[in-house]
Amino acid sequence: MSEFEPKIVAFVCNWCTYAGADLTGTSRIKYASNVKIIRFPCTGRIDFMLLLKSFANGADGIIVSGCHPNDCHYTSGNFHARRRWMMFKDLMDFMGVDMNRITYSWVSAAEGAKWAEVVNSTVTRIRELGPYVSYNQMVNKPVEEEVQHE
């Protein structure tokens, strides 16, 4: 059996985490390449539906990261995001969606090393959890009478 390499999607804010990730690179810190980074102006822009769509499209894990509280470029975007994540996490826990597959973090533009650590620890954790099979099975479950495409 070939080694499972998790697919991770990272939703990051432009001003802090994205810049922090740049710093990781310019500092020549090596970190896992499983992550596809998607840049947002602010974590406040991140819609919870995007996380669900990531799982539906084959992601095994998700990272959501932004500016530290009180450091948001738009003053309060991350405060709104934090509340939203709290509710989303509670709902997902209640429904049995695997919250171990989502990492939430505050990574500032100066924390290049922290970004590498967040990514590496997430990849290690997801590698152990394996691919998100149950979610994919649900996505691909056909409606009983449907004539499937070959």
Partner: protein, 336 residues
Amino acid sequence: METTKKLIRKKSLEKLYAALSMSRKVYAPVVADDNRVEYKYNPEFSAITFDHIQSTLSVKNLVFPKVENLIYFTNHKTESSVTEVDVSRIPEVVLWGAHPCDAAAYDVLRSIFCWDTKDQFFSKRLEKLTVIGLACHQSDDYCFCTSVGLAPDSAKGSDILLSRLKSGDYQAEILTEKGNAVAGLSPGLFEAMPDEGVLTADVKARFDYREVTKKLTGAFKHPFWVANSLRCIGCGACAYVCPTCACFDIQDETRGLNGRRYRSWDSCGFGLFTLHTSGHNPREVQSQRWRQRIMHKFSYMPDRNESLGCVGCGRCSRGCPVDMNIAEQLTALQTI
């Protein structure tokens, strides 16, 4: 063809079910955890109920599924390819235990789907469907089949009609070639029918559909609609549980370079059902939509389709969150 009445014992039904399940999908009613009745594919015979008054959802999904793929398409960058859905892959299905209202509903749907152009999906599914009807020995206050020209023992739409006898065994009336083919799988199970009456529910007629149709011709602007639709919340529950409702939406869904076009259930009760791209909505308020529901089933369809658009199963009233109760409204309409 000449119809024949035979006796089939309760335990022979189990053998018949086993014979059918070996080669086909059999859709039969079972009682769910919350005491609702739902139809499932190939359940254990011991789970099948013969005592249900009505299931929550209708069985129209066998000919008009809640989602039907129409075409598949692929984008090849400079051109695209379209693949037709291969309707020959639609399997044979036996509907086990459909009450007379549901059996009759297929003909109503046929009058819509095959009105001018023959809908190939509907037609193929109906062709592959065999209906084993189950006459009603009980009913509840929501049933009104006798008000719309049907009856708890009507054979319309069934290929074989089972009717319960006092002994607990069943009379099997073999009505069509398809029914003959089913009986032919295990002919030994069908015995000579003794001279015994079947148990039939007593469903008192509440209104006369012909009177209602006549009244509706002049009723478009009647204040009845506004007065009686205020509590309607505009959901799709009545349309979706109805065995004769056939409105659908068509959507394209893509994933990368591939996609499909499908049709799925829709309801004229939704606020946006008749919204035009211009922004104009001819049925902006719920009273217009409620009027549409009733007029369509009891006036427009009899006028143009030859079929009444309702079989009196009562599911809409059982499922309605606000008790719109169509039979009550139709009874009132008769006297406007």
